[in-house]
């Protein structure tokens, strides 16, 4: 079976710094892959290279076996790859509802039908469900910019799901999110994963979350993969403990 995502020898340099150094891995359909590593180990940079946000210095990225070199972020999204960002990225002056509808509308119909069709592209009901799930119901018509940090983080995650993607790449979804909500989020991810076969790649520093969610974990340090395997193996790997988890 072709992997959903295949990263082959990707490197990225900024000046003299090799932020991502010859990284290769595959992600198969239905996996929940955790990507961990010390601060500055190149996780976000790797995401950006995969998702067309930054051009990789070398190497190639395949989505469903198709090379996505030169593809823009919106093209990747159209291929069914959703993402969130580490730093807050919402549309601050639009309402929460509009934020969510926007996240789904580009997958509905054609350019023309979006001009002449329904203003909400028929997404309101689904958007409201999504908003309710993330407990933003009382904020539906507020401007996204006036939400608290954690609420914006949740909104960002909600947007990544709106298009019903087959691969979602989440950069620190748990940061700033209340533990109870986080537990719900974890269930949601698992449900998505089991019911729809969606695949996830998650960057996260919250070990409890990562260990209980992911089926496989890759550890990055200084831009290189230093360990990978199932949560148990990784947790007990001395190099990982030394480089990342600490004593």
């Amino acid at each position: 079976m072709t992997p959903v995502l295949s990263v082959r020898n990707v490197s990225k340099s900024f000046g003299g710094l090799r932020a991502v150094d010859n990284v290769s891995f595959d992600v198969h359909q239905g996996e929940i892959l955790g990507l961990i590593g010390p601060n500055g180990s190149g996780k976000s940079t790797l995401f950006n290279c995969v998702l067309g946000q930054l051009p990789a210095s070398t190497g190639s990225v395949l989505v469903d076996g198709q090379d996505v070199a030169g593809k823009r972020p919106c093209d990747l999204n159209k291929l069914g790859v959703g993402r969130t960002f580490q730093m807050l990225q919402v549309f601050p002056d639009m309402t929460v509802l509009d934020n969510i509808i926007l996240a789904g509308q580009e997958h509905k119909g054609t350019m023309l039908s979006r001009l002449f069709g329904k203003p909400d592209a028929g997404l309101t009901a689904e958007a409201l469900r999504m908003i309710d799930f993330f407990r933003l119901g009382h904020q539906t018509y507020e401007k996204a910019g006036s939400l608290s940090y954690g609420q914006q983080k949740l909104l960002d995650a909600a947007m990544a799901f709106m298009a019903g993607p087959k691969l979602v790449m989440l950069d620190e979804p748990a940061g700033g999110v209340n533990l109870t909500m986080l537990a719900d989020l974890k269930e949601r991810l698992k449900a998505f994963n089991q019911e729809r076969g969606a695949t996830f790649v998650v960057i996260e520093h919250n070990m409890e979350f990562v260990m209980s969610l992911c089926t496989r974990i890759i550890v990055l340090a200084n831009g290189r993969i230093i360990a990978q395997g199932d949560p148990e193996t990784v947790r007990n790997d001395p190099t990982v403990i030394e480089a990342y988890l600490g004593g």
Binding site: Y149, H205, G246
Partner: protein, 239 residues
């Protein structure tokens, strides 16, 4: 040390704080927990003079400091690390630190302190000349925390220091806070990483809808099943 009495306030005409009251003692660590949007960050802004308080008082060592602007609060030995990204993106790491110490009267000491915190957060030393915007998320957070340590405050307000930090760095940060506490500094912290935070704290405070719901010793809160169920995600784990 710090006391809030029936504080009401919010954004525009919107009320977020509905009579928040609490009192913390000198030389303790208190962690504030609560759901997203409860008003935790808003409380901090209110204390630090960044939010219009409609009624109520903030007392610092018995003195009324309600609505004092940030510069005055700094002069009284209070520092504040906000949530989110708070850097000068185009300035270098070192210059970002330097500006963190600008309010001090003893600039020579600040220069020394900069060297010290750079030892503590080696990545900052390594990247001293880089523009702050090029740092990774966690590196930026480290820079912010380091910046707050430059001055010798008597009260530190930290809003979710752990976001973006690796487990090792979280430990390092918490250890630093504990050391400061032992030196007599008072710390008020918001954390979603509540279990770890409460475990190192003296007191815990549950904030909801802008009101203090619970206030107790941290270990008591950790043991309280209601808190566990509602804020620590316990009910799902047990299920």
């Amino acid at each position: 040390m710090l006391e809030l009495k029936q504080v009401y306030g919010g954004y525009g005409k919107m009320t977020i704080l509905n009579g928040t009251s609490f009192k913390i003692d000198k030389g303790t660590i208190t962690t504030v927990i609560g759901p997203n949007g409860a008003g935790k960050s808003t409380v901090f802004k209110a204390i630090f003079g960044l939010l219009k308080i409609r009624s109520g008082n903030v007392l610092l060592n018995g003195e009324d400091v309600t609505a004092l602007p940030p510069a005055k609060m700094l002069a009284k030995g209070v520092t504040y690390v906000p949530q989110g990204r708070n850097l000068f993106p185009m300035l270098s790491v070192r210059h970002n630190l330097e500006i963190g110490g600008i309010s001090s009267t003893d600039q020579a000491q600040i220069a020394r302190r900069i060297d010290e915190v750079m030892e503590q957060f080696p990545i900052l030393k390594e990247k001293a000349k880089e523009q702050a915007i090029t740092l990774s998320g966690g590196q930026q957070k480290q820079l912010e925390i380091a910046r707050a340590l430059l001055l010798n405050p008597s009260l530190i307000l930290v809003d979710e220091p752990s976001i973006g930090l690796s487990p090792q760095m979280i430990n390092e940060t918490f250890r630093t806070l504990l050391r400061l506490r032992d030196e007599g500094v008072t710390i008020l912290m918001v954390e979603q990483n509540a279990k770890a935070a409460l475990a190192m704290s003296d007191y815990g405070l549950v904030l909801e809808q802008g009101r203090t719901r619970m206030y107790d010793r941290a270990d008591e809160l950790l043991a309280d099943p209601r808190v566990g169920q509602l804020f620590l995600g316990a009910h799902l784990e047990e299920a």
